[in-house]
Structure formats: C-alpha cells, structure tokens
C-alpha cells in the first residue's frame, strides 16, 4: 500500500515537472543529484553552448540549465496556470530552440477524441527554418484542440488538452464537479471539454466567474470568442452597461462619476494586449530610423506658392491622351527639384563619416517615400536629371503600383541620393522627417492648401500654398546652403517657365 501510494505521488510530481518541458521525444539527460534518480527528465535546454543565447522575451526566461528553468516555472507557475483544470492537462508548445518565440501550426496528426500513445506525433509546427514534429509526452486521450493549421502559436501557449490515465487528481476533480458552488471553483474547475477557446478567452471567463461551457461560441467551429463572453456577461448582468441616464449622473461629484464610469467602463473597454512582430519594411525602418536619429539634423521651413503648379497640372491633364497616365503635381516637383540640385549639388550628396568625405552624387536618384500596407518604403526614380516630366510621371506610377503590389525590386529601393516625403498626400501642413542615410537631405512636403495673402495694395487674395520642410545633416550642410537651395527650388515651382529656360 505504502509503496503504491508513494509511486503515485512520484508519478504526479514527475508528471507535473514534465509538464514544464517540451513534448519532444528526447534522450533523457542525466538526472541531477538534486532530484530523485527515478524521475526521468526530458529537457531540450541542456544542449549546446549556443542554447544559452536568447533572442526573444520568452526565450530570455528559459536558460540552458534545466534545473534553473524547473525552479523558475515551479515558483511562478505562470506558464502552467492551473494545469489540472477540469481534470485535463494543458499540453503547451514547448521551447523549440533559443530565440524562437512562436511557431506556425502546420497540421495535426490527431483529432479530438483520439487515444494517443506516449511519444506519438501530435502535430507539426514550423519555426523559422524548421518544421518540427511535436510528440506526446503522455499516453492519454485528446479532449480539446485549441489551434487550427496556419495559426501562430506562442511558445508556452497551450496546444491541446488531454486526459492522462493514472492521475489521482483527475479523478478527484471529476468527482467534485457535481458539488461545485463557489465562483472560484466554477472558474477553475469548469468543464471545458469540447469547448473551443483560447487561453485568453478562458481567463476572461474566469474573471467574470463564467462557466465557459455555458457561453455560445460564434467563432469558427463554434469557438468561444472574447465577444461571446462579454455578451454573455452583459446578458447575465455580470457586466453592467454604461449608464444611459446622464441627468442621473449629475448628482454625483466628479470623482464619484469618474469612479463609476471607470468601474462601469473598464470591463467593456478592457482590451488584451497584442504583440506585433516587426518584419520586412517595418523592421528595416527600426534600423534606419535609429541610425538616422544619431545624426544632427536641422530643419528649414518655407512656403511655396503653387498657383502656377496647379495651372501646369491642369494643362497636362487636359492635353493628356493616354488613359494610362495620370498627371499629378509630384513629377513637376521632382523635376524642379532636380534642376535645383544641379545648382546645389551638395544637397544631393552622401556623407562618409569614417573617411570624412562628402560624395557629390552625379545622378539625381530621387527617393519617394511611400506608405504601403507592408510599411514605409522609399523607391527611387533614377537619373531624374535625364528624364522628362512625362517619363518621371510614368516611372512614378510604375513604382507606386509595384509598392502597392509588394513587387518592388532591390534595384527599385536602392541607390537614392535625396528623398522626398509627400506627407501632404495623407494630410498635414508639414513634417520633420528623418534623413534616409547616407543621404544628407530629405524634404517633406505638406498638402497644398488655399490660403489668404495680402497684396501690396492691401487686397486679400487666395493662393495655393504648400509648406516644405527640409531636413538636413548639419555635419555637412549649413543653413545658408539649404536656404539658397530652397529659394532656387521655390523659384522653379512658382515660375515653372524657368524650367524651360534651364532645361537641357
């Protein structure tokens, strides 16, 4: 009798500890002297020295020393909150390697209701470069699958729930379900069998002392969503609606009103945090802007009268016979910018800090900042000095379409010598852009807006005004250079006929 009980206890402890570790089928590592030799540990973490390097916030909590990990998880228990909920065991996606914080679920090898053997493959996941087969640590029955193929599953997140034979605790929980009355019992030991929901939604249900089994799920395959729990809470009066009687609220003092509103509003507007990994262009922007922030910038702001520009654009549109071409202001601004750069080549240069050299670029490769669904990208129009306005228009359209379709080639987004950021296309008067290194200047142009100016004879008249903000590398450019350059550009914009005079 004693032997059997102690064996069960050791099994429970062993199983609890094994919950902390991945379900890979691994060669057992030599047990530490701190733990009984009978306990078989399977740790993925006691591996090569490279395993000590961690890259993610989750990975940083996991160390190569499995004993450290055991104690950490054992004391915090966060990753395995109430693992024996409802008699079920949470099977998490375990650490698959340092720096890997999440995996894409590719396919399941089992389905709900299947009996599985120890080490039987449960599913396949993909982490970065590898597909990895996840095997079961236990022999048992799959009760609930919590993710579908293509889902991104974070390390530590529960993959599925299963019942494992031989657990005394499981038996006790099932026996106790009928007599559960206390809210904590309901929330911690509610029957989740067959109810699809994420851990975050189940936590939310527990918070409101709601048995998630009673919530009607409107998600895929009957999955219970956050909205379903909130709706249920409202229906049952667990959650109060925001007060509609404003007059009634006037009798409360301000503090009381705020408290009431905050207490009432808090559950309705409580949102879960969302982690968005930065990839592609967005990730590149982190790097480029961080580097740009180390450069001493100064800004020169001026307003330009765009009346002539408006007339030119209108004239181009009216004489346009090509339905595939759409004339806008930007090509005119780009061409006039190039003309001004010819006179002030310092604005079209790159600075090499190491060699303390400024390289005056022969080509005017003007980058046009574009906001796309994938992030900020700056494709360049090459050799603007050799292009006509029509050619610039067509090239701009090609780059815009490519950016939209995420088809920009490496050549499209490289080789820029100066950048134009038309923030006005979205809105706003002007902006203070950061340099697109190693360029030494960047220009933000605001929206063309109607403004009132006073003539010399005191009469008010409307003009189209565009604000430009030139950001410059103060290590290379001084205010006088930028100001005189801007004056020249302004002259070309306000008097486009000068473009013809100087055009080659």
């Amino acid at each position: 009798m004693i032997t059997r009980r102690s064996f069960q206890e050791r099994q429970l402890v062993s199983a609890a500890r094994r919950l902390l570790f991945p379900q890979f089928s691994l060669a057992p590592v030599p047990p530490s002297s701190e733990f009984p030799a009978a306990l078989q540990f399977y740790s993925p973490l006691s591996c090569s020295p490279s395993a000590t390097e961690t890259l993610s916030s989750i990975g940083s909590r996991v160390r190569s020393n499995y004993q450290y990990t055991l104690m950490r998880f054992w004391s915090s228990g966060n990753a395995l909150e109430d693992p024996f909920c409802g008699g079920l065991i949470d099977v998490p996606l375990a650490q698959t390697g340092e720096g890997i914080a999440e995996c894409e679920l590719l396919k399941w090898y089992v389905k709900e209701g299947d009996q599985v053997e120890e080490f039987q493959p449960l599913c396949e996941v993909q982490s970065d470069k590898a597909t990895i087969e996840i095997t079961s640590r236990y022999k048992g029955k799959v009760i609930q699958i919590l993710h579908a193929p293509s889902d991104i599953v974070k390390v530590g997140e529960t993959l599925l729930k299963m019942t494992v034979k031989g657990f005394q605790l499981e038996q006790d929980v099932h026996d106790g379900l009928e007599s559960i009355n206390s809210p904590s019992s309901v929330t911690s030991k509610s029957r989740n069998c067959g109810i699809l929901s994420t851990p975050a939604v189940r936590n939310l249900a527990r918070e409101y002392a709601i048995d998630i089994a009673n919530v009607h799920g409107t998600g895929k395959d009957g999955r219970v969503l956050k909205e379903d729990v909130l709706k249920y809470a409202l229906e049952k009066g667990i959650l109060e609606r925001p007060p509609l009687d404003v007059a009634g609220m006037q009798h409360h003092n301000l503090e009381g009103l705020n408290n009431q509103q905050s207490e009432t509003a808090k559950p309705e507007y409580q949102l879960n945090d969302e982690t968005i990994p930065l990839r592609g262009y967005k990730r590149a922007m982190v790097k480029s802007m961080s580097m740009a922030a180390t450069v001493p910038h100064f800004y020169y702001v001026d307003e330009m009268n765009c009346d002539a520009l408006v007339k030119f654009k209108t004239a181009f549109q009216q004489s346009n016979s090509d339905p595939n071409v759409k004339h806008t202001f930007l090509p005119l601004l780009i061409k006039s910018l190039s003309m001004a750069l010819s006179k002030y080549p310092m604005m079209n240069s790159c600075f090499n800090e190491k060699s303390m050299e400024v390289i005056l670029k022969g080509s005017h490769n003007i980058g046009i900042a574009m906001a796309t669904p994938n992030g900020l990208v700056v494709p360049t129009i090459k050799n603007v000095q050799s292009l006509s306005i029509l050619e610039i228009t067509k090239e701009l359209m090609r780059l815009q379409k490519s950016a939209l379709d995420n088809k920009l080639t490496p050549d499209d987004i490289s080789g820029g010598t100066i950048t134009l950021s038309n923030i006005g296309a979205i809105g706003g008067k002007s902006g203070s852009p950061l340099l697109n290194l190693p360029e030494v200047s960047i220009i933000a142009i605001g929206r063309i807006q109607k403004a009132t100016q006073i003539s010399e004879d005191g009469n008010a008249y409307a003009v189209s005004i565009m604000t430009v903000n030139i950001g410059a590398d103060h290590r290379v450019l001084d205010g006088a250079t930028v100001a005189t350059f801007c004056n020249q550009w302004k002259q070309y914009i306000e008097k486009p006929e000068l473009l013809m005079l100087h055009m080659k």
Partner: protein, 271 residues
C-alpha cells in the same frame, strides 16, 4: 598512423553518401523526403547543380506573398513547395545542394532542435572554408562576413532530422526578379538590397574543391559509404508518397486572381 585513422573511423557512425550532378530539384527533394521518412540510415546528398531554373518555397510558402506570379506564369517557371521549413529560393545550374539526414543519436550530444543542428552544420563548413573568406553562420545563413552564400532549411521528427542547404555557387540576378521581397528578413541584412546582401561562392574557391572538401569534412564525423542513386524507378514500384510537389498552373493562377481582388489601401505619394 594509418591504422589509428582507420581505427578512429571505425568508431564513427555510418553515413551513406550520394553524389549527384544536375538532378532536377523536384527529384532531389523527393529522394530526400523518402530517405528522411522511411530510411533508418544516415545520409548525405550532394547535388552539383540542378537543371532549369525552379522556384522552391518552404512548406508554408504562399505564392501570392512570395512570388511575382505573372512573370512566373508567363515564363513557365516551375514552383515547388518542399517539405521543410524556411524561405523561398530560385535554383538553377549555379546552385549546389548539400543535405544531411541523420538519426537523432547520430551526432553524440547533439540535441535535435533547429539551433543546435544549425550550429553543428556550421562546424562542418568551418572545416571546408578554413582559411577561405570569413565564413560564419549568420542567424540561419552561411555567410562570408555579412554576405550570404548559403541558405538552410530543416525538418525534425521524433527520431530523425534533415538539414539541407542551397549554396549560391553562381546566380543570375535576373532570376531574382521572380521573387518578392520577403516580409521576414534576417537582422544582419540591415536593410541592404539583395545584391549587396548575397555573394557568389565561386569567387572563393573552385567548384570541385568545395564539394570535395565538404565530403572530406563530413568524413571526419562519419564513416562515409558511397551509394549510387538510380533515378529511373518503375513508377508502379514506388510506394512512398512525398508531400513535396510542384504547384499546378491552376493553383498559381488562382493565387494571382486572389491577389488582384484584394482591396488597395496603399497611400500613394501623389497629389
């Protein structure tokens, strides 16, 4: 000395070595997958170049995201989805492939996880490139300095793992235009354009030298036994069904249609 060497080799795990030249990449991947899933031996497959340019995506690759489908369809470039993870490559006769398929206990002390396997594989190539360039493993790529010349992908199961590499012996920059910029890029790429990010292996050592040194380095970890691969098998005798497959034209056209129908929400830089 010779006796000591032979004695030491006797203690090494056995690995079958298949050396191929110009085998179509689809056949190579089918062979790899079959050996990976059905064999109990360790294998090394080296394919010195493949035939026509072919796009190879990872297991969860989506053509709409990764490819410029229109020119791919127009130029009839084959698109394959392989059984391992990782990104998208376009391979051709200038690509050299090296694949290791091992039982999990084949390398003593090696834990069957992506990073340890990746690190172990870099040890092999450190021997190959000793004194040549500044070889290193940059995240998941093989690079000289910070310029990539080899990309890796893996698959890990209960008992075995596969780690295969495509080496950029040489490449045609025009072929890169079939591929879109991936959403995910390694940190060490540092927003460099593609041509500044990669380099050609041929600029560092002769082709045959690379392959021979790879075999030689592998021979210090395994006892190699050459195996001849018979490409032409009786189709009726083939019982293994690989998951690696070539996408059909219909699938690519469907992906293209789905892309065209997406709502455009890009803010253009136009007034």
């Amino acid at each position: 000395m010779a006796t000591l060497f032979e004695t030491r080799k006797l203690g090494l795990p056995l690995m079958n070595l298949i050396r191929l030249e110009g085998l179509p990449i689809l056949k190579q991947l089918h062979l790899e997958e079959e050996l990976f899933r059905t064999s109990k031996d360790n294998w090394c497959i080296i394919n010195d170049g493949t035939d026509d340019p072919t796009i190879v995506m990872g297991i969860s690759g989506k053509p709409a995201e990764l490819l410029d489908i229109q020119p791919v369809l127009h130029d009839e470039i084959p698109v394959i989805r392989r059984f391992t993870g990782g990104g998208t490559v376009i391979v051709d006769p200038g690509t050299i492939f090296a694949t290791f398929i091992c039982n999990k206990e084949a390398v003593p002390g090696l834990q069957p996880y992506p990073r340890p396997i990746m690190s172990w594989s870099s040890l092999i190539y450190e021997q190959v490139f000793q004194g040549i360039g500044n070889f290193r493993l940059c995240e998941n790529d093989y690079a000289f300095g910070d310029r990539k010349f080899g990309g890796n992908a893996q698959s890990i199961t209960k008992r075995r793992w596969i780690h295969h590499t495509s080496f950029l012996w040489d490449y045609d920059a025009r072929n890169m235009s079939y591929l879109r910029l991936p959403k995910r890029a390694p940190e060490y790429r540092m927003a460099r354009d593609h041509m500044e990010f990669i380099c050609r292996l041929k600029d560092y050592l002769p082709r045959s030298t690379f392959i021979n040194k790879t075999v030689e380095a592998l021979g210090t970890h395994f006892s190699l036994e050459s195996v001849v691969y018979e490409a032409d098998k009786d189709p009726s005798a083939i019982k293994f069904m690989p998951t690696t497959r070539q996408l059909t034209r219909e699938e690519l056209e469907e992906a293209l249609s789905a892309t065209d129908l997406e709502n455009c929400s890009a803010q253009f830089a136009s007034l």
